[in-house]
Symmetry: C2
Subunit: 338 residues, 2 copies
């Protein structure tokens, strides 16, 4: 730590909210390590996600506040998929010497990060700040609490379950296309264009949805859609040792995705299946709870779930479109990049 780094961190710490102790944080940033304990009857859920400049984001299309918030959202989504309540985060930043990447930029980044983390109940436990020769790197570890033995796993789907998605897909991929080629925006509704871009830059982690599903025992298995529905459906199928049957005509698309797909001369469903980064939850629901999810989840978890298929004994992912069945390609992000 250089003297100027220390001074900066001191100013930053004073500007940010002080630890609330609601999170169970016993000792926050500033010592060699932070101290924390999950409350009685709970386990810690832990995950980390790295964002690399030029790979996961561009500073030309993303401002510091949005980048901080998005980094928070991407990480919180992993906790959401376990049904965990976010509590803490640690953030490591490698910052190149470059015009514009100054203390004001860092302050805005941290403001977005803390705002989005704080909105879902997580506070800072620590971090590291380093130089970088070329690119900006952000790595975040999040910790949450989950009731002992109750976490929503990927391996618990059972034949007879209904397959649900927590909200519409394709919006993030469409928003990214709009950010890269702003001229496309003239060919769709201006309001929809704004929402699509925001959906890419600031995905909504489905923390409430995960918590509600856990508390209502309404989900057997759950995973978040980071690489696209196709890829995550295959994950669920493999990990649970079951077959998934998906009705692609029932997959909800975010508003504006169809219009943008037309402008791109692409299949809108391809954006939903392989676009990725929508950060909705894909989960399987025991038959006795399907009615509850369909009728109450929007009200209690602030999302719009849709049934898109069901689970059968067997293996693999079959999908129906326009009445015809076929094997769904395990494409994921890689497919979309081609």
């Amino acid at each position: 730590l250089t003297l100027s780094e220390r001074a900066f961190l001191g100013r930053l710490r004073r500007a940010l909210p002080t630890p609330s102790k609601i999170s169970g944080l016993i000792l926050g940033p500033g010592d060699d390590a932070a101290l924390w304990r999950p409350r009685a009857g709970c386990e810690a859920a832990l995950s980390c996600d790295l964002l690399a400049e030029g790979v996961h984001f561009s500073l030309e299309t993303t401002g510091p506040w949005e980048l901080g918030a998005r980094a928070a959202a991407v990480n919180l989504s992993d906790l959401a998929a376990m049904g965990a309540q976010p509590r803490l985060f640690l953030v490591s930043l490698a910052l190149p010497k470059r015009q514009g990447l100054d203390e004001a930029w860092l302050g805005a980044f941290h403001a977005g990060l803390h705002a989005w983390m704080g909105a879902f109940g997580a506070e800072a436990a620590g971090g590291d700040l380093s130089g970088s020769r070329h690119d900006l790197f952000i790595d975040i570890t999040v910790l949450g609490e989950v009731e002992q033995g109750k976490a929503l796993r990927r391996n618990a789907a059972r034949p007879g379950d209904a397959v649900f998605i927590s909200g519409p897909l394709g919006g993030s991929a469409a928003g990214l296309a709009l950010l890269r080629r702003p001229a496309l925006g003239r060919r769709i509704d201006p309001g929809a264009a704004v929402l699509l871009k925001r959906r890419h830059q600031l995905p909504m982690p489905r923390v409430l949805a995960g918590r509600w599903l856990l508390q209502e025992k309404a989900a057997h298995a759950c995973i978040d859609i980071s690489d696209g529905l196709a890829s995550e459906a295959w994950h669920l199928s493999r990990e649970s040792g079951v077959a998934l049957r998906l009705d692609l005509d029932a997959v909800p698309l975010a508003p504006g995705v169809e219009a943008l797909a037309r402008a791109l001369r692409r299949d809108p469903l391809d954006l939903a299946l392989n676009g990725g980064e929508d950060y909705e939850l894909l989960f399987t629901v025991p038959r006795s709870k399907a009615g509850l999810v369909a009728s109450k989840m929007d009200h209690y978890a602030g999302c719009a779930p849709a049934q898109i298929g069901w689970v059968e004994a067997g293996r693999g992912v079959q999908a129906r479109r326009n009445g015809r069945w076929g094997r769904l390609a395990d494409g994921g992000y890689e497919h979309f990049k081609d």
Copy 2:
């Protein structure tokens, strides 16, 4: 995650030891998040450290196994300074496309990382693997267990305490100089040169020392020497609200540091005070325990502690050299770089 990343991670996971459950890990890598609970009566200690290529290491002077082990050591040292028992880690890697940075490289990196983590009781709970446009980045979060309310803090030094260091200093800075200018090696003992280089590439985290100090209630305050003795002494003084008096003639130097300093035409003590990265522990000992530390710690914690001063009421850090007192400059790493 691309298909090839997934295949690689699958191969890696099969090659590494399976979770032992000794760590308290309930669910290891592979789901959206890992699950873990500290045992009854313990809190979690959490810390993260980022290593950036060209800033913290060079691939020209450090092989993959050594880099993995060093990344582990740097992170474990933070837990050691709290007196915590390491349990888990999460590792994020951003890997550029470059000749030599292939699956074999990654395998060797993880072998070193897991070997060093495993030697101190920590196992993998998760991670992330990403591309990078230019440089390699490693960010690790470690979690340990520490008995509730017993962690060794920076703010607990009291007037009357003895100030100890867990082992000799200056070795890491001397080793780095040797790695950068191999010709210097001809001017010191060959055996010492090997040990100095190893001390830079593979510092020994003082986990046993931290655990022993905590269990014997032998330390009031503790901090690890990542930025150099001068900088960390000022930290302890500030955080504890006390004055430190250091006897610089009593500061132990690693074997070969004096000879190398002569070759560099530098003051050997400068390497110890401002060189950094020695990862020894600086701790204060209540008077009643100073004899125990001096006589037993080498036997139980495998290190060679030395008393280098004492704590008084007041502020700041005063140092004595050749019988003369002066204020110790709060230089740290920044100073050394000039």
